[in-house]
Amino acid sequence: MKSIACMILLLLPGLGPGLGAAEQSPVLEVLESRCLSCHDADTRKGGVDLEQLLSAPDPLDEKIVALWEKVDKAVGEGEMPPKQKKPLTTAQKEQIAGWFEETYVLKDGKEHIGESRLRRLSRYELINTLEELLRVSLKQPYVYSPEFPAFLPSTLETILPSDAQGESGFYNDAAQLAGSRPPVLKYSEAFDYALRIFEQAPAAREKVFGFKGVSPELTEEQAEEILRRFLARAWRGYKNAESEEVVLSAYRVRRKKEEPVSSLLHAMKIGLLSPPFVYRIETARNKTLPYRVGAYELASRLSYFLWASMPDDELFALAADGRLLDGTVLAGQVDRMLKSPRRISLSEDFAGQWLGFRELWTNKIFYRNERWSRGIYDEVLFFFDELVKSDRSILEIVDSDWIYQSDYTGVRASGKRHTFDAKHGDIFASRRNNPPGIQEQFYKPPYLLKIKSDQRGGLITTVGILRVTSAPEKTNPIRRGVWLLDRIIGRPLHAPENVPALSKSEKVDGKKLTDLADILKAHTSKAICVSCHKHIDPLGLGLENFDPFGKWRASYRNKRPVRSSGVFPNGDTFKTPRQMKQILVEEYREPIVKNIAGRMFAYALGRKLEPYDRPALRKICDTLERDGFKINTLITDIIRSRQFQCRQDQP
């Protein structure tokens, strides 16, 4: 295999000292002597086969990299070798960590950011972009009205197919979007619809055309000026004279048969169906190491991260003269953008997918009634937005002394309505504009409550989250536990395929398994269960006081008392949800912070994080800690990273 041979040659400088063709590297010796007795191709304990790592390292082979990441993590966190075996020496550990860093994190001994990928707009981004570009409203209005049930998708959502989440966990994943066929016909249909709405909105037309009502006397020069201005925005600074000419000539051809306005709309549609609208094309300079992107490109990266939409006029103006590349100007823009209601995309798109509460809308299982379902969805949405709005600590996702409360019958938290000194404005103001002729009813946004009781606090005790982590009619502590582990602590687990069920007749400590906590206790006494359930169960059990609809309960329907108590793997015990959350914040702070930062970083970059992103992520987490875990520090630091501001053209 020629390619593999080349790869080895390329990598040799990175292999560290002492590795010749015939010589065995020290790190492989550690693997062979300490790991392979359980993890060879035959035994594959825990399904892990490390023999594959003995051959040449290949930073492009995703499976091998993932396996090395696993080794690096297990050794780094002291999980391997298992307790009953002799631990690795410090030197051996450093060898593994060092080798990993040299081979997979760095490139020729330098930090890098991997190859930049072409990004196609996700459905969510596309709809937002059309709204901004055409200056029209295309989403379901956020009012309470029989004409607009909240859970009805907007017309564009019914036309455009939904995306699939990529390995990053988000719809905006470049690799996932690149791998699937762009639905050109649906685009065409969607643009037809959007342009029709635009045509019927005189104010929007005036803004985009720059003319009050385009008259039949529109000259060709005037029309071209309109179209050039439109394309500059639609293509977000991408310049291509030939493509532009295609659009202009589309106008000219159509104008021979039709009115100026319909000809303009036709040309605009061609502009929208051209790749620079659907894709975020950046200029490549064919460099192997990172270099800064241009001002327009940075403007797009910013706006799609913070608004999931195209840049607005101010960003375009700053991009046009390059001022946006200035650090102070950039910081000022970030601040401005976070003040804008358009930041709602961070809650809707980023948090909605990361925490999974978008499912309250998309999965009918969770639907109860219009008022309740929207109420609990808004509570989570506003909770997350409150973090950004008032620049609060990301740890308040786990525990906080405030929550958002909607007006619906059922769940009530005690406390008084409260107003913090909000830095930024009302998130939904724009979308609450009543469409003409529609009578708004009932809808009130949720309000902030300062809470005194121990029951609630933190986004994880919002009704919405407790609902999506339950089975249809009962709680499922395992599902809640797995959710907390995966989404909050950042330790994804997969459902076991070969683990037996606990039989009902089984006894633990001489006692029959009667209630849930007993069954879960068995999880910590049977060796096969312990390795995973010692992490899962305490988390799930700690939320047992919340019923499947998020209501606080002290006893089950059969009158047995609810026990929200448990033991963490390190021996810490708790008796109430609040105590559990305190342990989480104190003992699991590091992985929680790393997880949240990593998720947002992946969302900002539109790809899953790779080993070479580690130095940047480390830096981000360090700054976060120094700054009290403030979420806007996290956002700012992500924007400051080279990953965010640079391109690289070779992996």
Partner: protein, 530 residues
């Protein structure tokens, strides 16, 4: 937006003979249609109905039957009136590497092989067929799902069909959208013309963008061009090419209200496939009726547990609707299959009914809902296959890779291929009687071979027993007529792939205890299929 959505034909056209009377002109017109003249061009249609999440083997399997004389099992009982329309297939196996998990059981169902990459697959067999017959119809193939559940963690489980480039094909879940695609939109010649001219201009703009793009960007942008070409192809196909039969049938399609739940959506999709076949809009379709890890519930059957939870019936025994709920859901799915058969039979084709010229495969990618064994998949074939299917039979094959079945279906659809996926040959016994001798004959050697100090080695036929209160019991049937019980843990059955050996003669080594004077195997060391 209009809330009345997809359409179904007026009642008169749903009645086989009635339709012929109502449309005398159709038969007269048929010679003029000119669909070629070879036997393979009989406008055969293929439909795959995939229902994930396996079955309870005890309720599915037929026992003590011959090829032509068999009694339907509990789960197959909805097909009683269709007994002469179906071929029940036994011992068709998926790639054994898929055994035991979720990851590959959907992929292998229509590709026949487990592949290293999760994203790029072999072109699925329906698409091979679509490449062959799709040019004759406006829509090359339909990929549908009536289950709204999607797995975000492993997107590859959401797809059955993969194109020639190995990428999953988009799947439509909204009946309204399917309806519009089939019976509105491109059927309007003005719309077709406008779209075609827009695409010409878009291609021009595309070319100038690509000229300036980096090599890596070009690879991604190429998908865009491919997609434009797909639309152009479809535009071409939609030009009615003087097909009055289609036009006449199109006019008979009426609107009905939108689908509100899974039951209605499933019906709607089945109706739409039938109508698409009737109007010859497409000849290839797949419908995912249940995702293999679905979180869907079945409120309309009184079942509020998630099907995936129910399917893990050994381990989730305390679910409220339990094993009976699982059976009920699967029973309902077989009813839908039967409904579809009846529907196809009610629609007139140029010769006979649409049913006569269809091939319908119903089944799941796994057998046992909890163990995810991929041997002896639950599969039923139906349709006349243009005379290429000999129905009314129950065929018990020796264990055969599912590639052989897929290859046979491809052959019937006119694709000449010798090998596909895990195939070892073309499955016999579909177009003609199989006349297979039973693979296993009790030669008197099924007995305990060694028995020492509580340990034994036994040879016999492995069977499974699943009862509501006894979910995990296996039996080794001996020549003497008696059976040894195997009562071992979930982990053992799973790790040793014991469930995958059900229906075979095995050699089983283990330890036993004596209970009520009978030996009960409580630990298994080895289980080998002979």
């Amino acid at each position: 937006m209009s809330r009345e959505s997809y359409l179904i034909p007026r009642r008169s056209f749903l009645r086989g003979v009635g339709a012929a009377l109502a449309l005398p002109s159709l038969e007269i017109m048929s010679p003029a249609l000119g669909y070629g003249n070879s036997a393979a061009a009989k406008n055969l249609r293929l439909c795959v109905l995939f229902k994930g999440a396996g079955v309870n083997p005890n309720s599915w399997d037929i026992t003590g039957a011959t090829e032509t004389e068999f009694t339907l099992s509990k789960l197959l009982s909805p097909l009683e009136k269709n007994k002469k329309d179906i071929v029940i297939l036994r011992n068709i196996d998926a790639d054994q590497r898929a055994n035991g998990g979720h990851e590959n059981v959907t992929l292998t169902f229509m590709t026949g092989n487990v592949r290293k990459s999760r994203l790029v697959q072999r072109q699925s067999f329906d698409q091979v067929i679509a490449d062959h017959v799709g040019a004759a119809t406006p829509v090359k193939s339909l990929q549908l799902r009536s289950d709204t559940y999607l797995d975000a963690n492993d997107p590859s489980e959401n797809f059955l069909s993969f194109g020639a480039d190995g990428r999953a094909l988009p799947v439509e879940h909204n009946p309204e959208v399917v309806f519009n695609r089939l019976f509105k939109g491109f059927n309007n010649s003005g719309f077709r013309k406008r779209t075609a001219s827009v695409l010409d201009e878009v291609k021009e703009s595309y070319q100038s963008v690509v000229r300036k793009a980096s090599n890596r960007d070009r690879q991604v942008l190429d998908h865009y061009l491919q997609s434009v070409r797909d639309v152009e192809r479809e535009l071409d196909q939609f030009k009615t090419r003087g097909n009055p039969a289609r036009d006449s049938r199109m006019k008979q399609i009426n609107p009905v209200p939108a689908a509100a739940d899974l039951a209605q959506r499933t019906r709607a999709m089945l109706d739409l496939i039938a109508l698409a076949y009737w109007t010859d809009m497409t000849r290839v379709s797949t419908l995912m009726m249940a995702h293999t890890e679905t979180r869907s519930t079945y409120g309309f059957l009184g079942i509020n547990d998630e099907l995936h939870m129910l399917s893990h019936f050994v381990r989730t025994r305390n679910r409220s609707s339990g094993l009976s709920g699982y059976d009920k859901v699967n029973h309902w799915y077989v009813q839908q299959f039967s409904y579809f058969i009846e529907k196809l039979k009610s629609l007139d084709d140029d010769e006979g009914t649409v049913f006569d010229n269809s091939i319908v495969l119903f089944g799941s990618g796994i057998k046992h809902g909890d163990y995810h064994s991929v041997t002896d998949l639950p599969l039923v074939l139906s349709g006349g296959g243009g005379g290429r299917i000999l129905p009314g039979r129950y065929v018990k094959y020796p264990n055969t890779p599912n590639g052989n079945l897929l290859l046979k279906l491809m052959n019937m659809m006119g694709v000449k291929k010798e090998k596909y996926g895990n195939s070892t040959g073309i499955l016999p016994g579909i177009s003609e009687k199989a006349n297979l001798a039973p693979k296993y004959v009790d030669d008197g050697s099924w007995k305990i071979i060694q028995d020492e100090g509580g340990k034994l080695l036994v040879k016999g036929m492995l069977k499974i027993s699943v009862k509501p209160d006894d979910l995990n019991l296996y039996l080794v049937q001996l020549s003497s007529g008696e059976s040894l019980e195997v009562r071992t843990g979930f982990g053992t059955v799973h790790n040793l792939r014991i469930d995958a050996c059900v229906g075979s003669v095995v050699e089983l080594e283990g330890e036993y205890k004596v209970k009520d004077g009978r030996k009960v195997i409580t630990r298994v060391k080895r289980c080998k299929r002979l």
